[in-house]
């Protein structure tokens, strides 16, 4: 706190006679979460913008080094809390790479559905909040209508609406419920029309276009320098999508396009997200059509794969399996030595997990690469020269979440 206050003073002393310092956040209606910006204003124009982060720091990386791999799954829910399922998937795949196993095909297909639902949900909130910050309140509540449907489905899948903790190392916590298929199919069928509705309010709305086109332009160089990923990078025209570049979870089986923008302004970021939602529905549709049967979790055989859970039936009937189960969830799975990095195409960009193991049951080092952290840094480059009102457009279009930025 004292550091942050010092900064305020520094700006105040540093500034010219005719500018004012304005503190925006951490509790401001449009710095969603706890982002804080210290602005130097010349009238309505922003001369300097200093983002201050860390108000939501919970030491996720350190926590990850003090828990076994399995115990850490619930902590990943609370990173990008707008797409908890996607975080679960990212973490599970990273762990599987470290352990050296792969999830069975059905689990992979389920995970694709989870990740894409998370993407839609996150983009919906991003779009809604973006529109709300520019004054179009109705879009926000309309997107919540669909998010509600998604949350109900998440609840049916994982048992929780928000803190899903759904994946396990080697698969998923439970099978994809059969009765969800018709619901999901209905959702996938109707959702594109809903997107049309949002677009009807915004895409060709004169005011919306005026507020977003040519505003907050991020050049390709800036985007690459600051390590932007996901929709923010693609809006600049760089076709960088981990689902295409390094397909995981069987993404190479599905046919989808990667929308890219041209100028990297707020309008492009909006269009890219809208198009991504449509593509995500396409992916879910294909997964539903081709959902493989088989196990949803890689079970341990009698002597191999000691790092994954044994079958529940065996746990209840077989002493060794019971011990094995107990061991998996307490602490003595012996991890192989080595280090892995896995980057997952999360809704907001590349969510990467780096894990290093020196044996034992816990990661010796865990490092998380959050996309919002990178996107927020670019603010100090992009914001100066814009008006105060443009900050809302830029923040909204960058679509950050502090939970994953501060970790």
């Amino acid at each position: 706190m004292s550091d942050a206050r010092m900064l305020d003073v520094e700006i105040a002393e540093d500034r010219h006679e005719d500018t004012i310092a304005l503190n925006m956040g951490p509790q401001h209606p449009s710095t969603h979460g706890v982002l804080r910006l210290i602005l130097e204003l010349d009238g309505e124009e922003v001369c300097k913008c200093e983002p201050i982060i860390g108000y939501l720091h919970r030491g996720k990386e350190k926590v990850g080094e003090h828990h076994t791999l399995h115990q850490n799954i619930p902590y990943t829910d609370r990173m990008d809390y707008l797409a908890p399922l996607a975080n679960n998937v990212a973490y599970a795949i990273a762990c599987e790479k470290l352990v050296g196993i792969e999830a069975p095909p059905r689990a992979q297909a389920i995970r694709v559905i989870c990740a894409e639902l998370g993407r839609i949900s996150s983009h919906l909130l991003g779009l809604g909040a973006y529109a709300m910050d520019l004054g179009a309140m109705t879009v926000f509540l309309w997107t919540f209508r669909e998010r509600e449907a998604i949350y109900s489905m998440m609840e049916r899948i994982s048992g929780a609406r928000f803190t899903t903790s759904y994946t396990r190392i080697g698969g998923c916590a439970r099978d994809f419920p059969e009765d969800l298929f018709p619901k999901l199919e209905k959702f996938v069928r109707e959702f594109p029309h809903r997107v049309d509705e949002y677009e009807g309010l915004l895409t060709r709305n004169k005011i919306w276009v005026k507020r977003t086109q040519g505003v907050g332009v991020i050049t390709v160089e800036q985007a690459l320098q600051y390590g932007l990923t996901g929709p923010n990078l693609r809006a600049c025209g760089v076709e960088y999508d981990l689902r295409k570049l390094h397909p995981y979870s069987g993404y190479d089986l599905y046919d989808f396009e990667v929308p890219v923008g041209t100028t990297g302004d707020c309008y492009d970021r909006y269009m890219v997200r809208v198009e991504e939602m449509r593509q995500s529905t396409r992916i879910i549709e294909q997964v539903l059509d081709s959902m493989p049967s088989g196990p949803y979790l890689n079970r341990a055989g009698d002597d191999e794969l000691k790092s994954v859970q044994p079958e529940k039936k065996k746990v209840l009937t077989n002493m060794e399996s019971l011990i094995h189960q107990f061991m998996v969830f307490t602490d003595s799975v012996d991890l192989p030595h080595g280090e892995v990095y896995f980057g997952h195409e999360n809704p907001k960009g590349e969510l990467g997990f780096f894990l290093r193991s020196e044996g034992g049951s816990k990661a010796q080092r865990m490092r998380i690469r959050g996309p919002s952290f990178a996107s927020l840094q670019v603010l100090q480059e992009v914001v100066p020269g814009h008006m105060i009102s443009d900050i809302m457009a830029i923040l909204g279009s960058i679509d950050f979440v502090m939970g994953e930025c501060d970790r």
Partner: protein, 347 residues
Amino acid sequence: MNETVFYFATTLGKIVVFTHLALILAALMVLGERRISAVMQSRLGPNRVGYGGLLQPIADALKFFFKEDVVPGQVEKVLYILAPAITVIPALLTIAVIPFGPALTIFGTEVPLVIADLDIGILFVFAIASLGVYGVVLAGWASNSRYPLLGGVRSSAQMISYELVLGLSVIGIFMSTGSLRLLDVVAAQQDGVWFAFSQPLGFLLFVICAFAETNRLPFDTPEAETELVAGYHTEYSSMKFAMFFMGEYTAMFVFAALISTLFLGGWDIPFVTAEQLAAWGNWGSLLGFVSFFTKCLCFMFFYIWVRWTIPRFRFDQTMALGWKVGIPAGVANIVATAFILLPPGTL
């Protein structure tokens, strides 16, 4: 009965009835806004207090009264307390010259349904309404805090710019009627067509200004919630905040009433002539009153409809629209009207 006493009695009656009408309508408008926006956003809105939430405004008002009245330490006390009043009073004063309907006949005397039948009617409205901006500016300044200051600055710039457009947009009407008296304007529309049709450009400009002057979306930059927290009333709480709210909604009603009077024929009912209406006596007056109110309510609905549909302009875009589009268009409207009104063969 003494004529003077009768005059005072009826005038007092009109003042009480019309101002309360405006205030009650402002309160109901808040409820209406919440319910209608809820429908637009697939929600329910407040529907618990009273039948369908009808008593919600009373509940809100009670809540405002019982809230702690926080006066932050850094404010300029006198102006800070005065500012909300300065916002409400002009809004209520303008109601004085708005004709609510055709004259009533009470005890054989004609009583026009307007509190003060001024010859300079519309000028009075503009003169008083522009005082309202002081409330906003002083609130922004007296709060001695940065967000309200920005809101106050935006507001003063915006309201002053749009007042010019507002003034220009109605000149066409007064060129056609030859009078600033609002009763004459209504009479002219009863005889001819509504000015919304004969002065389409003026009508459009006036509607835009109505939004800008009342700080409604898409021109609500002075209090833009997501930018300036709450703009000029960020530091206000309790009843002082409620007064800003009241002032805003009353101003909205005044503008709806002005639009009905100036452009939508006032109490005129389509296809019914003034003589026919007069022939029905007091019932005719009542019918005219209902017609006038229906038009006001329709425009109020339009206010709400727009607010929940489109995004907000950026402040410089608002100003550009006012100065670069509004004022030239207003002048063009005056010139065009002048040419049309020119007696044939003059040129």
